[in-house]
């Protein structure tokens, strides 16, 4: 059963064609890594999936619910806002820059949306939040403020915050790119644990080692299209496409 299906997505920023017909289907429990050079449209694609950006053309369906599809004139038409809100609630998102709420403690960051959006009572929200913090190894930091945490800790809080909404799909946009190298491991570990629990995940990343080990499937994007995709180990160990090969040799040499 697929969790999310995107068909032939087109997206322009003004005259800049950023996505030129990208399609992706993600099965339940699957971990998909999206790799590719900077500026190839990876973030834009991920952001289109949960409507942080709107698409110009194409279809996006999440767990059988249509978020957007082409109208009779071939241009994308979005479903009504209430429906989209429900669909988006199935998706969690983790950003490169964490985007924690600086004026809220770690615990407050985690309970805010469950309480406001899902109307979960405070007690219940806190209980769940503490469980999640335990899971990401930060229960002790519940009452600290984001500025008191390292980048790696902040990103783990951000993951826990997304999980607090009980998403079916987790999207990550270069979750370790803003971190010092020695801090990437703790974040990747949390993500790996999630994968082992069969969370459906879409991960834009430059961590080729992580993609190879944890992802089931790798998508290589370049210049707004998917150039190559397949089983993670196969694509990374034996890329067929010239551009994939070139990219991987560059990334892996460093």
């Amino acid at each position: 059963m697929y969790m999310i299906r995107a068909l032939d997505i087109y997206k322009n920023f003004g005259h800049l064609k950023v996505l030129k017909g990208v399609s992706l289907t993600v099965e339940k429990g699957e971990v998909v890594a999206i790799i590719g050079p900077s500026g190839s449209g990876k973030s834009t694609f991920l952001r289109c999936l949960n409507r942080l950006e709107t698409i110009d053309k194409g279809m996006i369906e999440v767990e059988g619910e249509i978020m957007v599809q082409n109208g009779p004139d071939g241009k994308a038409v979005y479903s009504d806002e209430n429906r989209i809100a429900l669909i988006r609630r199935k998706m969690g998102m983790v950003f490169q820059n964490f985007n924690l709420f600086p004026h809220k403690s770690v615990l407050e960051n985690l309970i805010l949306a469950p309480m406001l959006v899902n109307k979960v009572p405070r007690e219940e929200a806190e209980k769940k939040a503490l469980e999640l913090l335990e899971k990401v190894g930060l229960k002790k930091k519940a009452n600290n403020y984001p500025f008191e945490l390292s980048g790696g800790q902040q990103q783990r809080v951000a993951i826990a915050r997304a999980l607090a909404m009980n998403p079916d799909i987790m999207c990550f946009d270069e979750p370790t790119s803003a971190l010092d190298p020695e801090l990437t491991g703790e974040v990747l570990k949390v993500m790996k644990d999630l994968a082992l629990e069969h969370m459906t995940m879409i991960v834009v990343t430059h961590e080729i080692g992580f993609a190879r080990e944890v992802a089931n499937r790798v998508i290589f994007m370049d210049n707004g299209i998917i150039v190559e995709e397949g089983i993670a180990k196969e694509v990374i160990d034996n890329p067929k496409n010239e551009r994939t090969r070139e990219f991987l040799s560059k990334v892996l040499r460093i």
């Binding site: 988006r88 950003f95 820059n97 985007n99 924690l100 709420f101």
Partner: protein, 216 residues
Amino acid sequence: MEHFEYVLKILPPMLEGWKVTLTLFFLTLVMSLPLGTVMGIARLSHFKPLAWFMEFYVWLFRGTPLLLQLLFIYFGLMTVGIRLERFPAAVLAFVLNYAAYIAEIIRAGIQSIDKGQYEAADVLGLTRFQTMTNIILPQVFKRVIPPIGNEVINLVKDSALIYVLAISELLRVAKTAVMRDETFVPFIIAAVFYLFMTAIVQQFFKWVEHKFDYYR
């Protein structure tokens, strides 16, 4: 000794003047802060006519002297048959003027918040209103404390402008006494009053800033 007696004699009328100054000060603050905040948000509204109107409003009130606005609201309105008492007219002019400045500060504060904050709130399912009240504005308030503090200090000093409507605020009382008694002492007393008020304002804002130190 002679000076001391003079001070005692002049103090009661000066305190009366000070009361007028303080009344204007507090009335202006109490009304212009919330009004300016709403205007600053409206300035960024997606409903364009509202945003444009606010832009025009801010331009109008920041682009002309407060003195002119005072005269305009009192005398100008009179010529079209709207008669306000002098003090309410002064308060109205001050509130409208200060709201424009506060609105600009709030607008700049809102725009200084990272776009990632909106996106994080958005993907968590918060409505625009919830995002504004729970995420954006609390952070804006911390950031605008210093510039608002500056405006409040300005307000202490600008309050003297209502003399043009022949309202006996602190400085006008002092000036009257100076002319009548041919001594500078009332000016010195007035200066002490103003310095006292600005010192209090400064301390207050220092304290508020400190209150917000718990996060960065």
